[in-house]
Amino acid sequence: MLSKIKNLFISFFSSLKLTIVLLLIIAIVSILGTVIPQGVDVSGKIESDLLNTFKFLQLFDVYHSLWFILLMVLLSLNLIVCSLKKAPAAWKLYSIIPSPDRKKPFENIPLDRILRLQKDKDQVIGIVKNILLKKYKRFRKKDLDEITFLYGEKGAFSHFGIYIIHMSILIIITGAIVGSLMGFEGIMNIPEGESSNIARLVRHNKVKKFDFTIRCDAFSIEYYSNGMPKEYRSSLSFIKDDKVAYQGPLLVNHPITFQDIRFYQASYGKMPGGKAHLNVKKGDENPNQLTAMQNDSFYFKEEDAAITIKRVEKNFMNIGPAVLIAVQTSDADFTFWVIKNLSRLKSQIPGLFEKFPKFDPGSFKPYNFTLNKIEDTYYTGIQLSYDPGVSIVATGSFIIIIGIFVTFFSSHKKIWVRVEGEGEQVKLSVAGTSSKDPVALQREINNILKNIKNELGEA
């Protein structure tokens, strides 16, 4: 009973039909995944039976769904069982060296593979032996009455090519599963000059908090003359335990690895508002520079006042850059605008401050504010990923290339040479077999014949 189940299991999982069916199912599922939008959050949106069915079948996240993993597991079982079943045969093909005096290979060989030589037989045998020994790792010789048989073979390893390929596919699947179970991917948007230690995870709507902080010291973009971005880079500091543990530029295509997590320059954007450069003048004193972003606050000690930059507008009411400042003291609470093009506005609207007291940059006495410029500020969009499966997948990819070369570009070639006396002459016949490449075998044999003739001075 048990052996019956075992046999059933083996015959089911070693069948190529299963392989083809699985490969096609995976192809079809993958097609579905490119047609149905993936990774969208459909909860709470339109409820319909179809949508719910799709959700139940995990069709909005096909590639991470349970049954996709199940398909991978079935495919792996298929590969393992089939390989184990066929391995002994391959091992036999690899390890068994046929006897040198076989007759069959010599049946029906073309006439040009037979040489008749006016030479000493032992000399011929010696030369053939040398040639075969030089080119073939495995060599056998056998003397039978008046006939000498020589045998050489190479490329036996090619029988393992497909096992190498199949094994590498198992390795790649393993690496992919390790990565998807133990790894994560996230996004961080950090404004220039600021820090963060929290990443939003791409899947599952979760966040991750790190035991280190990333500070974006600067962000810059270089443009081509047509306005397309040429390069963007963030200068990052990775801060751990209040110390800068790593500092360096992050560029597209040049990720940074920190604590096994890889950080990529993925995107960038402008912060709403921007960075305002203000001059603050107190009475007749020299003006002070003030640089601020929206929602920044300052404390003016002498007046015991809190100043907040409420808004930074690049084009306020079509009159250009302007900043809205809120002032809070113990007995007052007011706001006023600082406009860059104030003198122009004043000449357009006589008596501006009487009509619009809020446009008076000297509202907060004894200070006078002027706005120099508003600069764009950027945030850098950093993608990060941790994937312990990468090295496994890379190993598998490397091995698959080796396997492909062994499978398709090598073949098991066996060469038999028979040397016998024929009256005054020596008759030499060359025969061979190849596991798959008859053209290469032909070339091989022609080469051997040429070499023999050369050595004997008969070319």
Partner: protein, 279 residues
């Protein structure tokens, strides 16, 4: 228009001419048109190579130097170039000019599409940062070698179908002029193997690029997914031949399905929702 695009649009006509002569050769069975066709193709590929080098140099003069492999126009031109190159190698190896009539026209179509479709921009464009990568160059080269090999397999499959039944007494026109089915089948198989190897390399180099540019070696974007689908289809084809010994007509049908998938991977994915489609 820049000089290289002018030359390349002329190369389109060269390949058209060469297609005509290959067809003449096939139909008449005479040697001369075939020899002319070979020389025209050789001329075409040499001129095309020069134009590509000019384009490369020109991009450096514009201050945005990069290999001419970075947008749809350039990929189509390179595609045609690889088809002609592979074909000439095959012609030289099998010493027959009968296949040209079913392969060189694909190079002509790709060139014509690149040069004359209003949707394909021939300007040299600067590279956005993500595309500035040597892995990307090896990725594009191996992928297009793969695509070209599959295209050749498709041309051979077409010939296989036109050939009809060899054993019939009264052979049709195509049956008389085309190479034997065994040869077509064997060549198609070898092309598929070449294509499969290059596609495998293309997927691997592509994921190395993705790993250095996008944060993950595989993110199931439509282009990636479709290249995997194509890979799976050709893997199925190869297995049905290795293990089941499928040959001939079945292989021809399968290689047409595979080619449809190649076309979709190349052009179709741009119509699907996705993140990064450059080609």
């Amino acid at each position: 228009m820049m000089i290289n695009t002018v030359i390349l649009s002329w190369v389109t006509f060269v390949y058209f001419l060469s297609s005509i002569f290959y067809i003449l050769k096939l139909v008449t069975g005479k040697q001369l048109p075939g020899i002319i066709a070979t020389y025209i193709s050789l001329f075409g590929i040499i001129v095309q190579t020069i134009a590509l080098i000019l384009r490369w140099i020109e991009s450096y003069k514009l201050g945005i130097g990069h290999a001419p492999l970075s947008n749809l126009y350039e990929s189509l031109i390179f595609f045609a170039w690889v088809i002609v190159l592979l074909y000439l190698i095959i012609e030289w190896r099998i010493k027959s000019r009968k296949l040209g009539a079913f392969i060189i026209p694909f190079a002509f179509i790709a060139m014509a599409f690149a040069s004359f479709s209003p949707n394909v921009k021939s300007r040299i464009q600067p590279l956005i940062p993500a595309l500035q990568s040597n892995w990307l160059i090896s990725h594009v080269i191996s992928s297009f070698l793969g695509y070209a090999a599959f295209t050749i397999a498709f041309g051979l499959a077409l010939m296989y179908f036109l050939k009809g039944d060899e054993r019939k007494r009264k052979n049709g026109f195509f049956s008389r002029i085309l190479p034997s089915k065994d040869i077509l089948d064997e060549l198609a198989y070898q092309s598929i193997v070449m294509g499969f190897i290059f596609l495998t390399l293309g997927i691997i180099t592509g994921s190395v690029w993705a790993y250095s540019a996008w944060g993950s070696y595989w993110s199931w974007d439509p282009k990636e997914t479709w290249s995997l689908i194509t890979w799976l289809i050709y893997a199925t084809i190869l297995h049905s031949r290795f293990v089941r010994g499928w040959r001939g007509k079945r292989m021809a049908i399968l290689s047409m399905i595979g080619f449809a998938s190649v076309l979709f991977t190349y052009f179709g994915v741009n119509y699907l929702p996705g993140l990064h489609s450059y080609f």
